[in-house]
Structure formats: C-alpha cells, structure tokens
Symmetry: D2
C-alpha cells in the first residue's frame, strides 16, 4: 500500500505542468491552452482498483490494466481524469464542437462584450473543392488563380462585415442585436472542461478523416500534443484500440473468413446472396457496404474480390 | 385500479393531437411544429404513484399531486413526458438554445446541404438600443429615421452575404468551407426533443425577462401555445411556482421581517451592518443586492426603505 | 413529400401497440411491461433526413440509411425514439441497471411504502460456481445435493429477513430505517424511460456474455421481444454491427494480415517482438491480448498460431 | 492581467491540500476522504470573466461576482471546479446517492471481490419512529427498552447474514450470486467525482431536513468540512441563497403582501377564494399549501392567520 503522499504525487504529471498556460497555435488565429487538469494514468488505475481490489503497482501492470480497460470499454475509470482548456476557435467550428454535450463550457459572450475582431481567413491555396462521390467531404484544392480571387473576395467581405457590425454599435444598437450578422468565421473563445472518457470519444470522432479539416486540426493538437503527454499509457491504448483499429460486421466476418482462404468465387457468391453485389449492364455492382469492405481488406492485405 | 386500456387512453391529449404538424410562426421567418409527444399530466401522476403507492385518481387529486411535486422539486416524474419539436430559428438564437445539453438534437446540415436561403431581418422600428445600466439587455428602440437606414443597410448586407456564399458554391468550393462566412442571422432547422422536466427548466430561463428577445419569443410560444395545452395542470403549477414566484435570501428574509413591522429605521441599520448600504457623498448608497430587494418589496406591496 | 397525417401514421408501430401494458415474465418473479413509446424506424429516417435533405422514402432506402447511421455511429437520429418500461427486478440487479445514467427513472420507494414481499429465489440447479480463470464470471453449476441444501438455507434466510423487517415495522420503526437490512434479492419496481441510442448501448453491454446472468435475462427480453418488434430495421442493424461484429486492434490487424497468408512463423516472430509471446520454462507463453486474439481467429476461421 | 504563474497559484487551496487523503468519519463505520480537486473560488471568477470581459481582481469583487452568479443561477462557472472523494457508505444510503446522475463513479465491486465485512449498526437510542403526518420522515426515537431489543436482534441478524454469505462462498458459489442476499446495510466504497454546480445541487437536496438522516450526515460533512474550506465564498453564497432562503409562490406573495399590512380578515377571504381554506365541521380547514405557508410566515415573523 502506498502512502497518501505517494498517491497524491502520482496524480501530478510534470510534462503537463510545464505546459500550463502555454499557447498552442491552431489554424490562422486560433489556439489551445491547458488551464488545469485532474488525474493521470495512475488515477485511472487507482479508480479501477477500487473495483478489482489492491494489487502490485508496477508501471508494467498499470499499462496492462489501462489497455484492458480501454479494450473492453470499461469506461468509468477514465472519467476520473479531467482536462480544462482555454480555446480560441471560429464559430462554425465551435458549432460542431458544442454538440459534445458531456462537457462544461463558458464561452465568450458577444452579448456582454464586443465581438472578437478576428475571422478565420483562407489562403489562396487552401480553398477546398466539393467532393462529388462523398456528400460530406471535400477533395483537393482549387487552382491558384481562382484561389487568389476567392481570398481577395473574402478579405473584402470580412471588412464589410466588420464595418456593418461596428456601424451598428456606433449608432447605439444593443450588442445582442448588432451581432446577429457576424459571419460564422468570427473567432470566439471558451473555457472547455471534459473528463478523459468523453475526451477520448471526442478525439475518436474529430481526429477521424471524415471530420471537417478545421475541427480535426484542434482535435489533433489536443491528442498529439496534450493527451499524449498527460496520460501516455492511455494515449498508446487509444491509438491501438480506437484510431488504428477496425470493426468487422457479422457479414464482413463471413466474407473475410472465406477470402482468407483465397476462395474469391465463393465470396462473390455469398456477397450476391446478401445483395451486396447485384448484376447490372456493366457487370457486378457493389453496394455501399461492399465498397466499404474493400478499404478494410486493403488494411488486412487481402486481395479485393470485386 | 384502472384497466390497461384506460391507462393508455390517459396518456393521449386530444388538444395536442390536433396540433401535430401544424406550423406556429415565430419571428419573421421562424416556426415551431409539434412532431410527437409522450405522456400527459396523467403520466406524471402515474409515475409518482409508483413511489407513493396507488391511490384514488380523481382529477382534483392529480392537480394537488402535480403541484406538490413541482413545489418540492420532485422532478423525476416530469421526466416521464417527452416533447419533439421541429423548429426553424436563426443561428445566433440557436447558439443559445443548444446550450441546454439535456436534449436530443438533429440539425439541418450546411455541410451536406445548401444553406437555407433566409436570414433574420429587422424592421425599422425593431432596432433595439444598448442598455447602459444593465450590461446584458437592450432598452427601447432607435428612432424611425435611423431605423430605416439600418434596415436598408441590413438588406444590402444580406444580399452581399448570399452572393458571396453562392459565388463560392458556383466555383465548386466545398459546402463545408463555403458556409464559413454565413451570417449568424441565417435560419437553420432542427428536430429538438426534450423531457418535460428539462423543458420546464428551459422555459423558466428563456421566458424570463432577462432572456434575449428572440429566444424569449420561441420559449413563449412553446409555453403558452404548446405546454399549456399538453399538460395544463403542470403549466398552472409552473406559473405559480416558477414564473410568478420569488426567492428571498437569508439576508432578505431578515429585512422583510423587519419591514413587515414597519420599522424602516431598524431595516436601514441592519442593511448598513450587512454592508448593503454604505455612506457616500450623496447619501446612502445601496449595493446591487439592496437594489434587487426593491423589486421584491414592490411585489410584496411593502414600502421601499431606501 | 408525405402529408402530415402520413408522417404521423409512420410513427406508430402496431406490433408494439398490441403489447402495451402486457406483462413479459423475467426470472422467478420479475417482469417487463411496455408503458409507452415514441417513434419508429421511420422517425429515425425522418430525423436523419433533416440533415441529409429530402429524398425518396421507400422502405428499402430506409433500411440502407438506418444501417449506414448505425455503422458509422451517427447516433443522434436514434435519440429521437423513446421507450418507457415498467420493470420489476431484484435490487442487486437494479444496482447494475441504474449505472446507465442517461435514462429517466421513478423507483418504488420503500421510504414511503412497505417493501415488496418478494425476493429473488434460486432453484437447486441454479447455483453457479465461481470461475477461477475469469475473475468476474461464473462457470457451471453446483451438484444437485449441495444445491438443495443451498436453496433450503436460502428459504429459511428469506423468511428470517422478512420477519426481522416486519417486526421492526410492527414496533413502529420508521420505514426508512426498518428497510436497511432488506436483502439485495428483494424485488423493486420502477418506471424506466430511455432513448433508443442509449438503449442500444445498454443492450450491447448487458446482452453480452460477460454481463451477469440476471441482467442479461432482462436485456434479452427487451431486445428480442420488444426492440425487435418496435424498430425491426434498427434491430437487424444492431445485430450485424454490434452483437455479431468484432473489433480488431492495430496489432491484431497486423497479425491477421500475416496469418491470412498462412505465414504462422512470421506471426509468431511479430508476436514475440510485441511481447505478446514470451519464452517460459513450458514454452511460449501468450499474453492476455494474445489469448483474446484466438477467439477472434476462430470466428474468422483462421488456424490458431499458438 | 495576472501572469500565468499567478493564475495557476490561485487555483490551489492550501486548506484543502492539507486535508487530502485524511479520513473524515461518518456514521458508525463510514468515511469521506478528499482524493483530489480542481479549481477554487478564483477559477469560478476566472471562467465567468471569459464572458464578462476582464476586470479588476480584488477579493471583494470576487465575492460580489460569485454571489451574483449563484443568486441568478448562472451555473456554468461553478462547473469549472471538480471534487473527487473516496467514500464508504451503507448500500441503502448509496442507493439514494447514486440517483444524482451527473457524477463519475467507480464503486467497489462485490462481483470481483468479497463484500466488505461491515454493516451499518444501530445503537439502542437511535431507532427512529415512523412519522404519522408526514409519509416520508421519521419522528422521535423508540424507548430505551425496545431499543435494546431491536439492537440485539439486529446484531444476531447481521451475524446470520454474514454466515449465510460466507457459507455460500465456502461452497464455491460465484461471488456475483452469493452476494444477492447481502443486507442493504452492508458498507460499500466508491470514488465519486462531481463538479461544483452539481455538488451544490446535491447538498441543497441532501442537507435538507427532508432528506433521510444517514445521507444528511454525509452531505453535512461534505458541505461543512470540505466545501466550506475549498470554496469559502461559494459556500457563504450557498448558505444565503439556498440553505437559508425561501421561495414564495404567486399565491403566497399575494397573501404575504396582505398580511404584511396586518389585514388578517382579507387574507382569510382571499385564501377561501383560492380554496386554500375550506369550511368544515370543526371550522376552517387549511389545505396542504396553506399549512406550508405557516412555516414561511414564522420565518418572516408574521403572525399566522389560521
């Protein structure tokens, strides 16, 4: 059994202590600052051992226990850690962020104060093209010349927006009403506090390649520069069991087990029975699920059957 | 004991059934539609009686029980009712709305779809002036002439905004990026589902005179046109115990008890001891709490001591 | 576009309407009754389409959309459905149940009312043995003779418990204090209301083979007899993407890709590098993660390498 | 503007640092230990000022701001503080405790480990009598002689319970099943983590005279011995605006305003109109709400009209 003093010491993380209050830049004018934190990898282990009973406390065993907890979705010990950030983020990005409900928030108020005079700007080579086959994403960038025009136009637009806002304030219009036409690119600031379990969930969704670029940038900084230092064992387990993992559905397990034997014909037959492949004028047409399987097969280094 | 059929019948509210899908207009282009609901005043009573044991079920007793529950903050029975709305609301209003975390939300996505082509507009006589003594609110309206100019300017601004947005889309820019400069006045839509306990909390905050005008309009429609018909006994209790109630702090109780006896001098003496009144060049200066008490005394029809 | 009447009709599920109020038996004296519900598979689709924009509404497309949502953890549309149950359950089972926090609960109060006179009893062939290699579970049953003794002893014990409780009440002791020695096997009742997203999460944890037998019985009834009728498309997707799915971690993907090529030697080599296999006196000793992989390989019909 | 180092220093509370890990006894065998905390009164102020904008930071102003926030239910800044406790509590008390859902919990598992060998015992002078006019509470104590008998009986019962439990374990029965007849008086332990806003809500309900004695003891220790030292300004405001406050409903405001003028007859007349007083054979019969008003009038030092 450790002494109380030892237990308390184990909840401090010197690498994170050194970062407190330091500004990590994100996007053109955003940032993330760690304001405070509670707990460490050791705190997770300590809470888990309330259930499992006391045991030896070598780091090698801590690692095994944390991996076990994360792998088997025993999530409550991770809730024993808490992180408090000060962030600066464009409002359209914040609109996505705030959808994570299990967090504590104090946002800069444009009702009480004058809106921050900064908007998210776009460099000529940062204008993204609409993806055609994927409804939600973007794909590649517009050519340089068009990009320059768009950035010029954006700058004029931002100037116009700010003038309109300030002109209202100058005339005495209430801040709560004047603000209504601020563009979503306007930066806001917030204190954001969340427990590690919910933070992991946030990161797994927002570091993902399907997340929008802007929020992905914030999530990546939180993950790679903060969480990795704060709780390194949890971060390693998170990479193995979330970021770099794959899920196989019931039907996919069936097909993989056939393909692992190299029986492509049988796999195609089964896929047809499941309506994953349908005959069309131009040959076999794979369903959306059949297409999604291909990416998984590639990771498994198994030859694509269609 | 009621039969199952009777119990089920008591969960239906014909007045609300008639409103399902009907559009209630709010602001210039917003609306609220009831999509579905679960439960009724009877369901609250039914759930409460799981705890209290069975009893007679006359309406007069239902009323007494519901009032008792609301008065004493026995909140869980109210969670047994659920309301699902389809709303159309400007984004800056929605930013306040979404802060109520215990609700279920599906919002119109400007990542998948093109943004709704409607913005909250302001008539010349609707421009509100900044309140000087209260940081957050607005007070009165700007004069007609200035209002006309502001509304003209707003119209031009909205046109510019939409052109900028559509011009980006025309050039093939991804919707998720093109939208970043939409003004906060742009209308969005959402399905919003919430239980009655949390809805009551929402209404008590957002129907309040300190809430911003726009969200107050929505809250008032939800309260007066929907909740009042859905759960009339709960609505009546809500008006008595929340909307029209007052809270007296420990110090306020002390002062009211003195003032109810007409002893103004003693009240002033006590207020000085508590530092609610301080001497200044221009006489006694009341603290913020001392000023807040005046409004309560007026409601209690007790003469103001300072 | 559907009419309002059509939309409303699509939120009703006749198979579930017929079950309202009917008692589904669980364990020796427990039950589950559906009291009310909100929404259907169609409501999920309807909410999802607020984001995706209107589309055609054939059932085949509803199915595809629901599967897509569940597969990609787009969870908010499932929150648009709500289920309200009346359950009767032993307190020790209820202690696990209540840990699911995102639900609404009204429990029978033994402070206001006399405790329910029923305890969870165990038949001679139902006494489970402690599993030795798995800390949490049970494994097999005790022999008949010992089982008879245990059940006899349990009966005597329950009688003693009830006498002790009632004797206190007879002497006028407050119910809130008299109840303190009730055994955890005492049945309690509750109204329990939860949205479909959180219900799916509950089912995935509590229908799992690692869940304790008693709560698994309740979860299975809720899943197989209620959810399967209420939202059949969601239920089918849940079986494919949760119940019958498997997750492969980063290291597991690596090993499976090697084993799918039949290269057992290389797999063992890699496993040693990752410390999944360590040399011991009795040969190679697999780590816990190495052992867990074996069950997955069996499902994939790939020969175990260790 | 403070430096980062100053800001960080202000989040430490030396009085609480000294208590970390120390055991505070509750009931006969329970305890509370502070394991960790995040934030201080200063952190609340800091978070609130994200909204209000920077200002001077004297303690006198901190106090005014915290009182303002608590008085006006601006609750989010209080969510920026977090407290983590290790508690030991009887299971029947824990059953009430766990109903506060917005908290993080890791409880001692009697599935993985052998149940704690301690039960809540009752001294002869601690047996409480059932209150007759109030369904939920207890009132006074049983006489000494009966108390001795009850405590003797309780001791025998506890011994029996433990023998039954251990006898099952000895026979190899799974811990998860053997535990099912443990009495609710059995002590359990848990790590419990909660933010200050939700803790305040917990305390206002559980320190209240209507709360059961046992949980009130825990809440009082948390409030008076921990929170009062951790966030003294918040604690003072909590006492003024929650513990020692009173709420007057719409109808009560009306009656108090009449009674403050000494017009008892008019008050009775109005009370009759509102059906708060009804004629009966034995004179005027006050309703439950009319009776509740009497306690408030006493606090306001106003003579009771009925």
């Amino acid at each position: 059994m450790n002494t109380i003093a030892e237990e308390i010491a184990r909840t401090k993380v010197s690498e994170l202590d050194e970062m407190l209050g330091k500004t990590l830049k994100v996007l053109d004018d955003g940032f993330i600052r760690v304001i405070d934190y509670m707990g460490s990898d050791s705190s997770i282990v300590q809470a888990a051992r309330v259930s499992y009973g006391a045991g030896t406390k070598k780091v090698s065993q801590d690692r095994g226990l944390i991996r076990y907890l994360l792998r088997n979705r025993h999530t409550t010990p991770f809730e024993m850690c808490e992180l408090k950030l000060h962030i600066r983020v464009p409002m359209d990005c914040w609109r996505q962020w705030i959808r994570h409900r299990t967090a504590n928030v104090n946002e800069y108020s444009t009702r009480y104060s004058i809106a921050i005079d900064a908007m998210r700007t776009t460099k000529p080579d940062e204008w993204r093209l609409q993806s055609s086959d994927n409804k939600q994403g973007s794909l590649g960038f517009i050519d340089k010349k068009a990009g320059v025009e768009l950035s010029d136009s954006e700058r004029d637009f931002h100037n116009y927006c700010r003038r309109e806002y300030e002109s209202r304030l100058d005339k005495g219009i209430a801040r709560e009403q004047a603000r209504k036409d601020l563009p979503l690119s306007t930066y806001t600031e917030a204190y954001w506090k969340i427990d590690l379990h919910n933070l992991i969930h946030f990161l797994s969704l927002r570091m993902d390649s399907h997340a929008q670029y802007e929020i992905r940038e914030y999530a990546t900084v939180i993950g790679e520069q903060i969480v990795s230092k704060w709780v390194p064992l949890t971060w390693e387990a998170f990479l193995d069991y979330r970021v770099n993992s794959m899920s196989l559905s019931g039907p996919e397990i069936k097909l993989v087990s056939i393909l692992a034997k190299g029986d492509t014909n049988r796999a195609i037959e089964v896929a047809k029975e499941m309506k994953w492949l349908t005959e069309s004028d131009t040959g076999l047409k794979p369903s959306r699920e059949a297409i999604e399987l291909l990416a998984k097969l590639e990771k498994l280094d198994i030859v694509a059957p269609w």
